[in-house]
């Protein structure tokens, strides 16, 4: 319960402190880390794909991007080779197996890993199939 409250507070903080200033649609952030093959594979395996906005000074260099991808993929439940990160658009996506780990746990662990870099995550959407792509929380990415 305490964990859920903390998550809610953190998420509310994201909602209230971000602004519509970047000029990019949220779907564009999803597009930057959209990989049809990852989504198709996840869909076939009964897995899900989560799309996040990365909030904070997201690094855009290749080395840091690779490190972030590796850190995400080491989290239990996340599919190997499924993490996609865009520093330019400050977005992250990955596939995960909801039977192997609850999304809340995956979310918390990845959030913790990125917090060490001064970054926080704003969930945009979790989908099962390509045609489900929707910005579930449009403000979260701002």
């Amino acid at each position: 319960m305490r964990r859920a409250c903390a998550l809610l507070i953190a998420f509310t903080g994201v909602l209230t402190t971000t602004a519509w200033a970047c000029g990019y649609c949220i779907e564009d952030r999803m597009a930057a880390v959209y990989d049809h093959a990852v989504l198709t594979r996840a869909s076939a395996a009964g897995h899900k794909v989560a799309f996040y906005a990365v909030l904070g000074a997201a690094p855009a260099d290749e080395a840091a991007s690779n490190v972030i991808r590796r850190e995400v993929e080491t989290v239990r439940g996340v599919d190997r080779s499924s993490a996609r990160y865009s520093g330019d658009l400050a977005a992250l996506s990955f596939a995960f197996d909801p039977r192997a780990a609850a999304w809340a746990d995956v979310d918390r662990r990845i959030g913790r890993a990125l917090a060490a870099r001064g970054l926080t995550l704003g969930l945009i959407s979790i989908v099962d199939r390509p045609d489900q792509i929707r910005a579930g929380n449009r403000t979260a990415a701002r």
């Binding site: 649609c25 597009a31 990989d35 049809h36």
Partner: protein
């Protein structure tokens, strides 16, 4: 009684005047002129866009307001235009032998031109069909998200221009408030890549009362750049090498093709028809994504230029229309006499990459031979990456002074140069021409033969020198030009003077 009627008339006139004044309140500027762009007369109502998982099937484009060829139909009657433009991934032939992995609207590059009128309602829908296999095509770019950004619309981009995933359909509508020629393009990141892959087109919005002049011919000309490289996986399409987007060239704004209507020299092979005495109206859009166009038609003067396609933005007697990326102009000119009127981007580096076309108003066919003097051949490209780089460097740095099979210019025709000189000599000459001129008899003879104009030192690296040499070898051994030697010429080749095959004398150096 008569007095009463007269009073009533006066009263009615006053009421009428007041009503008219009230109706025009806000649309009369301080000079007393009616402002046709008064926001009060515009329509900004646009319901939220709808995104569904229902796919379009069948044709990739539909709507009577669409024009899929340069020759434009008159604007359709009716104030609602229903438009379907789906996104596809397909292979296009950017230039002869250059099969490019493109992304499209309506399955063509550029996308179809939409023609409508101020006040018309556009009802638009688009399915992202980038995941659909194309008949007969084994190679496609991976499916991805796409979107539509209409510069002709005034809507919330976060709502209407959102990206959709493969299999999704987006629908929205808007009213055209301003006349002009407007770009449309995919706005999904990286926008640069989506436009450079072919996702662009035009919306022509006529003024409510039509244009102030009557044109005999109307054509659309859309300029754009392409940034390509041979497929690193060396895949082939119909036996020819596949070309893919070159991200490095793209980010550095170094295109290898700049074209009209999606094809290198396309409107040289398929000219736009006209007749002497006619008024030709060209709707010209520079889709970019990164270069400026200096649009010019050789042999005439633009009687009128309407910047961004709005007749109120008028210039008279113009030689060029300077168009930044996503800028447009309607240009009108009279065809003074029979002839081939050459459309070029007067930034000749762009013209030399394929931004060239013809308005053909008849005349002797022999004259057509010289039409391509503005640019260079794109009939084939080597597949060896070093030779490709050499070709690209050659085309950007050397063509001012040298031709390949086109005869001597300021410097020698370089066709056959790899057979006349060995690689060591070529490498030294390219690397340090000034040193060669001091010590090498052949170099000294060349200097004398070419009017004492020395070969400049281009500060080339060793790698660049080797790339040039690889390209010269490709020309002499593998290019279609090499294979065509000795065969009768069906037509004059690009970069070659109208005189035909270069003489032995021309080639000697």
């Amino acid at each position: 009684m008569a007095h009463s009627i007269a009073s009533l008339r006066v009263w009615m006139k006053r009421v009428g005047a007041l009503a008219l004044a009230a109706a025009c309140a806000g649309c009369v500027d301080n000079t007393g002129t009616v402002d046709k762009y008064d926001p009060a007369r515009m329509d900004f109502k646009s319901p939220p866009a709808k995104v569904t998982a229902e796919r379009h099937t069948g044709a990739f484009a539909s709507g009577t307001a669409l024009n899929s060829v340069p020759g434009l139909k008159p604007v359709e009657q009716g104030d609602v235009k229903t438009i379907q433009l789906d996104t596809t991934h397909k292979i296009i032939e950017l230039a002869p032998g250059v099969k490019f992995s493109a992304w499209t609207f309506g399955d063509q590059v550029p996308g179809p031109t939409i023609r409508a009128r101020v006040g018309d309602r556009i009802r638009f829908s688009m399915t992202n069909r980038s995941d659909e296999p194309m008949p007969g095509v084994q190679i496609m770019a991976p499916p991805m998200m796409h979107s539509m950004d209409f510069h002709a619309a005034m809507v919330s981009p976060q709502d209407k221009y959102r990206s959709i995933a493969p299999g999704q359909t987006i629908s929205f509508e808007f009213t055209l408030n301003y006349p002009g020629m407007f770009m449309y393009h995919c706005g999904t990141p990286m926008v640069l890549e989506h436009i450079a892959s072919g996702m662009y087109g035009a919306v022509i919005v006529e003024p409510r009362g039509g244009y102030p002049t009557k044109a005999d011919r109307e054509y659309v000309v859309i300029q754009s750049e392409f940034y390509v490289k041979p497929d690193p996986e060396q895949r082939k399409v119909d036996g020819q090498p596949l070309y893919v987007l070159d991200g490095d060239r793209l980010r550095n704004a170094m295109p290898n093709y700049t074209v009209f209507n999606g094809v290198h020299n396309g409107m040289v092979r398929n000219p736009l028809a006209a007749k002497p005495g006619e008024r030709v109206r060209l709707f010209v859009l520079n889709a970019g994504p990164s270069k400026t166009s200096s649009f010019h038609v050789v042999g005439t003067i633009f009687d009128r230029v309407w910047m961004d396609g709005n007749p109120e933005n008028q210039f008279r007697g113009m030689q060029t229309a300077l168009l930044g990326s996503s800028s447009s102009a309607v240009v009108e000119f009279l065809v003074p006499e029979a002839g081939q009127y050459v459309m070029v981007d007067h930034h000749f580096a762009n013209a030399s990459q394929g931004a060239i076309g013809i308005v053909d108003a008849g005349g002797p066919s022999e004259e057509k031979g010289d039409i391509e003097h503005h640019n260079i051949a794109a009939t084939a490209t080597p597949t060896d990456p070093a030779a490709v780089k050499g070709k690209q460097d050659f085309e950007s740095k050397c063509l001012a002074c040298h031709s390949v099979g086109g005869g001597r210019k300021l410097g020698p025709d370089l066709f056959g140069v790899s057979k006349r000189r060995d690689d060591k000599w070529l490498a030294q000459w390219l690397k340090t021409p000034e040193a060669m001129l001091k010590s090498d008899a052949t170099a000294q003879a060349l200097l004398k033969e070419y009017n004492n104009i020395p070969m400049p030192n281009q500060n080339l690296s060793d790698a660049e020198v080797q790339q040039y040499i690889r390209y010269f070898h490709w020309i002499d051994e593998e290019s279609p030009r090499a294979h065509a030697q000795g065969a009768p010429r069906a037509a004059v080749q690009p970069s070659q003077p109208a005189g035909g095959t270069p003489s032995a004398k021309d080639r000697k150096p």
